[in-house]
Amino acid sequence: MKILVVEDEPKTGSYLHQGLTEAGFVVDLVRDGHDGLHLLLSGSYELAILDVMLPSLDGWQVLQGLRKAGKELPVLFLTARDEVDDRVKGLELGADDYLVKPFAFSELLARVRTLLRRGSRSKEPDTLRAADLEVDLMRRRVVRSGRRIDLTSKEFALLELLLRRQGEVLPRSLIASQVWDMNFDSDTNVIEVAVRRLRAKVDDGFVPKLIHTIRGMGYVLEVAE
């Protein structure tokens, strides 16, 4: 999976490069819009992360050049300005997603994975599994080690999200927006409490533990090796 990052701010650029590389992507980093567009047109990238404010060509212009050349790869914008007009402009020009600085790295990672998955969604599975946990999406039934677990609808949605993205650390903001459609930071620990309650139902009394808290990052469902 090759990703091009076009970011002129050196610190941001290098941590994006490091973080994405460590997450298993092949990452190229350039610092100006011209080079960025050139690489995107000539190279074979599967995703571009563009800063809006760039030297020589800004992010909008890079995106325009890209779409004009018929390239359909997903583009994620980064910007320091949270203006509705900017957002609308980006989406009109064909951007796929939009993040306002400062953002949590886990949030960026989750969005990158969502965008990359979008293109290659194969047949929806009916059942999601992790170790001895089985979730039947059609009948909305959860079974672990042969024992039926009762979940509320939101708990079910949360578990489904964690299972679909097994191994990915999901930040609280992403969970709030995917499960409850709440697109703002709550000043409470409500996600923490919700995950704790789900964990009590899914993990208590079972081995191995599936739902883990990664402090400062979010939550992940994985079968520990």
Binding site: V84, S186, G216
Partner: protein
Amino acid sequence: MSAGWRKSITFRLTLLFAAVSTTVLLLLGLLVGTLVERHFEELDMELLTGKIELLQSALRKVDSNRGIDALSAKLDESLVGHHGLAVAVLSAEGRTLYATAGAQFPDDIRTRAKRGLTSVWTDAANRSYRGVFAEARIGDASLAPTVVAVSTELSHHQHFMYSFKQALWSVMAAAALLTGLLGWFAARRGLAPLREIRQRAAEITAARLDQRLPVDAIPAELAEVAATLNEMLARLQDSFRRLSDFSSDLAHELRTPVANLLTQTQVTLSRSRTLAEYNDVLASNVEEFERLSRMIADMLLLAKSDNDLIVPHREPVDLPAEIRGLAEFYDALLDEKGIRLSCAGAGLVSGDRLMLRRALSNLLSNAIRHTPAGGHIAIRVATDEAALTLSVENSGLTIPQQHLPRLFDRFYRVDASRRRFGEGAGLGLAITRSIARAHGGDASVRSERGLTTFEIRLPLRP
């Protein structure tokens, strides 16, 4: 300079004074000049008619041609001492019977005499004369009537009038100048309070906003202006005080987490640690950073709302549906604390869905935070003809009255020392009020007998 000059009230008043006094003096000067001239004319006429009468009476006494010759000597005698006076006596045929030396008369003496004219004329040397012409009977009735003419030279009058007018005009010019000067002085004196106001205003700075202009000590015309300026200063002082309170609160709120981060990181770096310890410190740092980041985003939102930069995107919003969504979101928290939540009423309002949801979320999370375990929260939506009212009531401690008006202030906490982890920075209610105001409404709170109710009122027609 020229623009300032034109606008100067002192200059305008000075000009006005000078113009008015010059006009008055000019009219006065013209009047005096005319009167003096007329007075001289009257004196001349008196002299001339007197002499004519003298001649007529002398001629009446003559009874023969010889007598006329004798008359010359007599007339010479009676005219001694009358400088500038010329006399001529002509026979009916036009022969000169008597004439003083150098007497100058117009040629048509006889015609003028028949009509009894008085005239003014100028001779070849440009000297002016005034003359009276008349006929006179001679005592001997056999003789034809004679013609007499008397004239006086006017140059000494003209000289006098010339110097008189010169003196008059220079006095007037000086007087006009003087009134202009006095006008300038008066205007400056009259405008002195204005300069004082200016000086006072110049002394007012951000650090001395408590200064006021002296309303009692200045003229009535300016008192109103000064009072209005004072009101403006009072408003500025209030806004400024809020702003500086806010800045110092902000500095304080930012300093605490930054100090924590700094200390914790430095302590960690002071010696080598295990991987788990590093992990722990970094994770704890992230939590602080997240809080800082959220605080900055909130502050930005509030700053925008202070400058009326928040423009709600209007769409119909079903408030009870939003409340249900939020109740689901907070379900885990409510359930854990054993809080019962009820929601009653219905209402559609035109507003920005995301903003209103955020305002409601802040009210709800605030209520959850302050409701004791086992308590209840009741949300009610009511609509009257003008507005929709949403109230969030929670059981718990009654908030002392003196705190209520400040609850919506930024960073305000009832208990200043209390700040648990996970609690907001104290901006939630301020944001709620800003959002309500951006929608043309407002937020309020009341607390009595163990029930605290926050209310937002949104007008149905924005």
